[in-house]
Symmetry: C2
Subunit: 343 residues, 2 copies
């Protein structure tokens, strides 16, 4: 095997490997992409050259020539929210076992930023997109449909998905939480919510409808803020809600567990007994909810599983399985714990 003297500054190409291995360029390409088409002996000879030179194929040239990018574009609204990073982990774990790469963008909960980011994703000619929710701009949705790229919209169930859809009904979950609280004997039920993204809005609407159905809805029992959600904000909203209800609220549905923890820690400081004086229910069922004292009732959602499912749907589609379900309801489960159960 002759090793061409390699200018250290010049990047290695297929040709360099081909020369080193004494074969044609296309044979090297085959060794990399379709090794079964190359005889055992040649394959080893070429592989040796690849390893020796430390050759790494140029993905751009490959993608351009084959019009296959092996890229899956993913758009999520936030990187600091465990809800999305859990889903992401599911996506990465599935994609990692295939040849696909994940190109991730953070839309910061803004449809306009999302549109910009999805342009970026589309310029990579992705094999598929996984995007969050359904509140893309019209332009953005047009771009996606025009590109004819398979899309999965995740996190929530949509009335008119662009293509595939994995999620659950936030509205129904909100409704069910209130039913649970009513069942437990609470009747002056409040809601605190932050960020107020579409999914939080839906939970709130479900909350509202359930109380209206029970004839127990009061406008001043809702306290929200456009600020990002956090434990700190949960404490603040809780105090505001107490003020707004003159301390008469006896249960609070918190739009997520961070808010619920904030409310819980704050009530501890105020010597309000949870659950005897006040019930608290969160959403998402993060780990802390299960272990905090009292343990927090919350709505468990298979986030990781949702990511896995979305990734699997994408892969199935890319493998040509066009008859698989296009919409998957992941459901949810209310985890009833100490914080909503009178002693």
């Amino acid at each position: 095997m002759k090793v061409a003297k390699q200018n250290a500054d010049k990047k290695l190409t297929l040709i360099d490997v081909a020369i080193a291995a004494g074969v044609s360029a296309i044979t090297v390409s085959r060794v990399i992409n379709q090794p079964e088409k190359v005889s055992e002996s040649l394959r080893q000879q070429v592989q040796k050259a690849i390893d020796l030179l430390g050759y790494i194929p140029n993905q751009y040239a490959s993608s351009l020539a084959s019009s296959k990018s092996n890229v899956i574009g993913v758009a999520i609204p936030s990187l600091s929210n465990t809800v999305f990073t859990d889903v992401l982990r599911g996506i990465y774990d599935v994609m990692g076992t295939t040849g696909y790469k994940v190109l991730l963008v953070d839309t910061h909960y803004s449809p306009l930023e999302e549109e910009k980011m999805i342009r970026t994703l589309l310029s990579q000619t992705p094999e598929a997109l996984i995007i969050t929710g359904g509140d893309q701009t019209r332009t953005c949705q047009n771009l996606i449909q025009k590109s004819r790229v398979p899309v999965v919209q995740i996190m929530e169930l949509l009335n008119e998905p662009l293509d595939m859809n994995v999620g659950f009904s936030h509205w129904q979950a909100g409704y069910d939480v209130v039913k649970h609280l009513l069942d437990e004997g609470y009747s002056r039920i409040g809601f605190i919510g932050a960020r107020m993204d579409p999914r939080v809005q839906q939970r709130m609407q479900g909350f509202k409808k359930a109380l209206e159905d029970a004839d127990k809805f009061h406008k001043n029992f809702i306290m929200t803020t456009p600020e990002p959600s956090s434990i700190s904000v949960g404490g603040e909203l809780f105090k505001s809600l107490l003020a707004s209800t003159n301390g008469t609220v006896d249960a609070v549905f918190c739009a997520n567990d961070d808010l619920a923890l904030g409310a819980l820690f704050e009530s501890q400081r105020m010597n309000i007994n949870v659950p005897n004086d006040l019930a608290l229910c969160g959403f998402n069922d993060i780990e802390a909810s299960r272990f905090v004292n009292p343990s927090l009732t919350s709505v468990q959602v298979g986030r990781y599983e949702m990511g896995v499912k979305a990734a699997e749907m994408v892969i199935a589609r890319l493998n040509g399985n066009t008859d698989d379900a296009k919409v998957v309801d992941m459901g949810y489960q209310i985890k009833k714990r100490q914080s909503t159960s009178h002693e």
Copy 2:
């Protein structure tokens, strides 16, 4: 402006836009990449064609022709750990304002997987890499250096960085935590740690040295597990530590805040008073530590800022500022709270 009848199945290229706008392909390219080089009138004319057709440039062709990918490769060990997603957010927030795209991979704390993933990243001819820590395989480090791509290693300070380095001394932080606990009058100090990645190991070594210096080190006061860290595991490790020390431990340095919360919640259930019977100190200073009751002493680290800094260093380098600092110590701060302070 004549619009060529566009076969809906065929993807749009520069040429299509050029024909539609009645100009040459290169002019369209300029409108996109160097608009200042095109006259105002022509620029508008071309932009109109771009918008009308919904043209999105093919990034692969562009990168191949220009040998500029505008991709920054990022490798982190875990997506489920807020420590890394906070850093990531810093990276994304900076990169989002530039033209760079972030290609993210998850190494699952495995150097072998990391090597594989970094091959993937390198095949995208990234402009730079941001990778975690210094325990890459030798092969992996060779690949990186051979590629001559700027690299920032983040999260910890390294003895021999490959190139740039942003982090802080986990060893020193561990040492300082013990000093704080000793200062507060605790003397039978234990350690619990999970996952035991290099950084946790360093904190533990700092812990050990500080106790040895004070002549107070006992082997059975360390309790670790290779399992991933969690609140649940924190509770378990804490119980094990109590058993191992016959309940004589009076302070626990927890390798991170999840473990500390687990230990705290468990001690609440066991009616152990924190901080009077037992001090607890965490690491990372996540939001819950500040709000839980009693509030948890922890080591605050500028994670988001570390991501921002790493991204800025990359950008500075890519802009040709070669004389900037290659190593940045982000430092840390021990946040002294209720959990380590006798009443």
